[in-house]
């Protein structure tokens, strides 16, 4: 259970990214966060694993106050929260397998990991996760030689190395073409259905959100604009979220 209470984030330059956001996510839900660029989606996701420190409010996860955790506690929390990114954020010059193994760093002895030593168990695990996202044969190529969709799947494999209970996906398909977008979203759906991983995913397109979400949360200028069933978003709601001039774009 993830509980967000009165979350507010004001950046140092005075920009207010989130205003008093509160909601709860039960375990195993597939939640999609929608909203325009700059509406606070990324900030919200990054506050949950404290890549960004919130200004006010609390985030409670499985009874632990994430916002009050010190460095060591935060590390233990973070390693159960996977995250994938719009730009994939792979180390481009490193091999795919190294990128995937990096997901295991929270569990390995810091000393050994510094000289690039992982246990055989971790290596087997990395290959298995790559198998799962269908790019086992790319394990020993350089990350930047892969296509965008493949890179995002490496990102998913990396997050899976953490044995996550919660997965944060920050616009995971915004840099991909429609077909590849669906394939990546399918993997997320699979993780949600098969492994019971709670997913919090931000998306631009409502059509994609409708196709995969159990529940949609919409942000507008840092405020919670909508929280509910995908089917409840009618034309009026849509205009509330995206503005009067918005036109629906379907993504096949």
């Amino acid at each position: 259970m993830l509980k967000i209470e009165h979350l507010t984030k004001v950046y140092e330059n005075g920009v207010v990214a989130l205003r008093d956001i509160s909601f709860e996510v039960p375990d195993g839900q597939f939640v999609v966060v929608i909203g325009l660029s700059g509406s606070g989606k990324s900030t919200l996701l990054r506050c949950i694993n404290r890549l960004i420190d919130p200004t006010e409010g609390r985030i409670i996860w499985n009874g632990i106050d994430i916002t009050a955790a010190n460095d060591e506690e935060l590390r233990l929390i973070r390693r159960r929260i996977g995250m994938i990114f719009q730009q994939f954020n792979l180390v481009k010059r490193s091999k795919v397998i190294t990128n995937v193994l990096a997901g295991r760093l929270g569990y390995t002895n810091p000393m050994w990991s510094l000289i690039n030593r992982f246990s055989p168990h971790d290596r087997q695990m990395a290959l298995a996760k790559l198998e799962r996202v269908g790019i086992r044969e790319k394990a020993f190529t350089r990350a930047d030689e892969l296509s965008g969709g493949q890179q995002q799947r490496v990102g998913i494999a990396r997050a899976l190395m953490q044995d996550p209970e919660l997965m944060l996906a920050d616009e995971p398909v915004a840099s991909l073409d429609p077909a590849t977008s669906h394939s990546v979203m399918k993997y997320l759906e699979l993780l949600n259905k098969e492994d019971g991983i709670t997913i919090l995913c931000s998306l631009h397109f409502l059509s994609l959100a409708r196709a995969y979400a159990d529940r949609i949360i919409a942000l507008k200028d840092g405020l919670l604009e909508f929280d509910g069933d995908p089917a409840d978003i009618d034309e009026q709601r849509f205009k509330d979220i995206y503005g009067e001039d918005a036109v629906r774009v379907e993504i096949a």
């Binding site: 890549l51 995250m83 954020n89 990096a102 810091p110 510094l114």
Partner: protein
């Protein structure tokens, strides 16, 4: 209409400003002209032109090559003052096939012209005519060319020589011609030897600087350090524990390292000892791992601390043993063919031996301070409300005292280091002011510095001036900065202790300022530890970088004597500063995405750097290292001018002895090596980026 007039008046003003700027520029250059003593008369001076032509001609005729020569001799006798009887002077016997010379006349007074004719000399040889008076002190007269038939004729004039009396003078002609192939001259051999020294000097300096600059570059990277924030209480406790840990490490771990060195000197023990230690550690670690303690519990934490202490001991012991083995191997190799290698290994081993206690102390300091902080951290949580500030004040007093004591110790080394305590006092006072200001204006954790920027700045300047003035008077700094003397040796008694008054007063100021800061900050607010480290590192690097390696060279020559080692140290120190800055800029330019992703997996900060940052900076680091080596080769060619070894030393000697042909060889060698390296490093860099 208004619109039309406005630009014209503005245009006139602009024109006037332009004219003024041009006039100012001309004046500036006129002043520069005078200051730099630019003098066209000097360039026209006849004698100077002659000498520069000579020097340049010789520089451009470097004696790179040499050739063996054979020679043959022929003599003739000459009398100063012709004999009264008019008899010819008896001449040496002529042997068949041997060269001989004829002189005419065979007697005369000084300044008389004498024609020397040679026959049967080696064809096309060089003929050197010398005058040898009876006392045997030969003096060269003239050099001439022998023709293809072995004949030459030249004229000399009788030199003015004292003495001689009735005895004859000898005119000697040496015919000399090259045999065999040209080979490298002695000078060239020396120059090559020195050039090799120079290149290695640069290589050593670069190699030694790289690892240090590598580590420093992370501390000087804003993007990494900005994230490092810790609760103020933790920072203060860690700081207070550092010296305690240093002492403990020196006392307890140091002897373990020494033991390792001793064992290492006895090869078998040196290998077996660390092996056993490592296996034992592995066993204990495994046993501890199976104990099945929950992460985050007290037991788990205790196990982790215990293992870390053990690990440090094992590492220091092993390091010591490795050093010891190095000394052992070095000693064994010393008398063999590999004596260079032996000497190298031996020096490395000795270096480990010398630094092991420092390493132990450092490890102790870091360990104690991190363990102490993590132990106390739990306890600090319970201080809320006023207790938060009281504990903060206590810690602040202790840290401030400690900090200023350290500054005072530094200030006791050299008079102008006395600026350091003043500077720290000013910084502390300004920080305190910032906290007070925030408290009064109610500015919270958000940075609202923009709201009253001018007022804030004015206050800061005022406080800085006041703090500086007060500290200057209180510490009697005029004695240091104006008179250039060390702080007074007067002591102050505090109970059983007796401290220098200077140090005591510095500590007192630190206590007050630290106490105020600690009180205001409390122990829970975040302290920008990273930015403090960043600013300190940057300041030190910038200061070091502004000192030219030639000047550093002068100091190191005093320390380790004339020779390449002084040059290595000087270039190394400068390279650390320069590379540290270049490297850190590369760290600041990385794509933040990968490191963010690695951080999100629950990696430690060190892991984040190893997996998210290092892979991105490897290519630019290699490029900059090459570039630096290139610069170091250039620098090492002249570091010898201050005694830093390498080819510069040779060059300077030859210039001082006016041996420009030899100097020319050195100049040529420098030009070749620098341009080759320039090309090589450029092409390697191109390939890397």
């Amino acid at each position: 209409m208004n619109n039309n007039q406005f630009p014209t008046s503005r245009g006139a003003l602009r024109k006037l400003l332009l004219v003024l700027a041009v006039v100012a520029g001309v004046l500036l250059y006129a002043y520069g002209w005078r200051v730099t003593d630019i003098s066209l008369d000097e360039t026209q001076d006849q004698t100077r032109q002659t000498s520069v032509t000579r020097a340049l001609r010789e520089l451009l005729s470097p004696n790179v090559f040499d050739q063996d020569r054979d020679s043959e001799f022929a003599d003739a006798y000459f009398a100063i003052g012709c004999p009264d009887d008019g008899e010819p002077i008896p001449q040496p016997e002529r042997a068949e096939g041997e060269p001989y010379i004829e002189i005419s006349p065979d007697c005369g007074e000084r300044d008389d012209a004498v024609t020397v004719t040679g026959h049967h000399f080696h064809a096309n040889a060089d003929a050197f005519v010398r005058w040898i008076p009876p006392n045997g002190q030969s003096r060269p007269m003239v050099r001439t060319d022998v023709d293809a038939n072995g004949y030459f004729q030249t004229t000399i004039s009788v030199p003015s020589l004292r003495g001689g009396g009735d005895e004859f003078h000898t005119i000697e002609v040496e015919g000399s011609w090259p045999v065999g192939l040209p080979h490298l001259s002695k000078t060239t051999e020396t120059v090559i030897e020195k050039m090799v020294e120079t290149i290695f000097l640069a290589l050593m300096a670069t190699t030694l600087a790289v690892p240090i600059a590598f580590v420093l570059s992370f501390f000087a990277a804003r993007n990494l350090m900005r994230q490092v924030r810790m609760p103020a209480g933790d920072v203060l406790i860690a700081f207070i524990l550092l010296p305690i840990g240093w002492a403990l490490g020196d006392l307890l771990v140091g002897p373990i390292g020494e033991l390792g060195v001793d064992w290492g000197k006895d090869l078998v023990l040196g290998i077996v000892g660390p092996a056993i230690a490592m296996v034992a550690y592995g066993g204990i670690a495994r046993a501890a791992a199976t104990a099945g303690l929950q992460e985050g519990t007290v037991g788990h934490r205790a196990r982790k601390i215990g293992l870390n202490v053990l690990l440090v001991a094992v590492i220091i012991f092993t390091l010591g043993a490795v050093g010891g083995i190095g000394i052992w191997i070095g000693d064994k190799l010393e008398d063999t063919l590999l004596s260079d290698l032996g000497n190298f290994v031996n020096t490395l081993g000795t270096l480990v031996d010398l630094s092991i206690s420092v390493a132990a102390a450092l490890a102790g300091a870091l360990l104690v301070s991190s363990v102490g902080t993590s132990l106390v951290r739990g306890g600090l949580r319970y201080f809320e409300g006023p207790a938060d500030h009281i504990v903060g004040a206590v810690l602040g007093v202790a840290s401030g005292t400690l900090l200023m004591a350290m500054m005072a110790v530094i200030a006791n080394q050299a008079a102008w280091f006395g600026l350091l305590p003043l500077l720290v006092v000013v910084i502390l006072a300004m920080q305190d002011l910032g906290l007070i200001y925030n408290r009064l204006t109610g500015a919270g954790h958000r940075d609202e510095a923009n709201t009253h920027a001018t007022l804030r700045l004015a206050l800061q300047v005022a406080v800085a001036v006041v703090a500086f003035y007060f500290a200057y008077r209180f510490l009697d700094s005029g004695r240091l900065i104006v008179d250039g003397r060390l702080p007074s040796a007067l002591k102050t008694e505090i109970g059983p202790f007796s401290v220098k008054t200077y140090t005591f007063r510095a500590m007192l100021m630190g206590a007050v300022l630290g106490g105020i800061g600690g009180w205001l900050l409390g122990i829970h607010r975040n302290f920008p530890l990273g930015m403090t480290v960043y600013n300190t590192t940057r300041t030190i690097l910038n200061a070091l970088r502004s000192i030219e390696p030639l000047i550093m060279g002068i100091v190191f020559v005093i320390w380790v004597g004339i020779g390449p080692f002084a040059g290595v140290l000087a270039l190394m120190l400068h390279s650390i500063a320069a590379l540290g800055k270049l490297y850190s800029e590369q760290v600041e330019n990385i794509d933040p995405g990968p490191s963010e992703a690695v951080q999100a997996t629950g990696a430690t900060r060190l892991q984040m750097i190893a997996y998210g940052v290092v892979p991105q900076i490897v290519p630019p680091y290699i490029a900059f290292t090459m570039y630096r080596w290139d610069i170091n080769v250039r620098m090492s060619t002249i570091i010898g001018f201050v005694g830093g070894g390498g080819i510069g030393f040779l060059l300077q000697q030859q210039i001082n002895l006016l041996r420009y042909r030899e100097a020319g060889v050195a100049v040529l060698a420098i030009a070749i090596v620098v341009s080759v390296l320039d090309f090589a490093s450029a092409s390697i860099r191109e390939r890397m980026i």
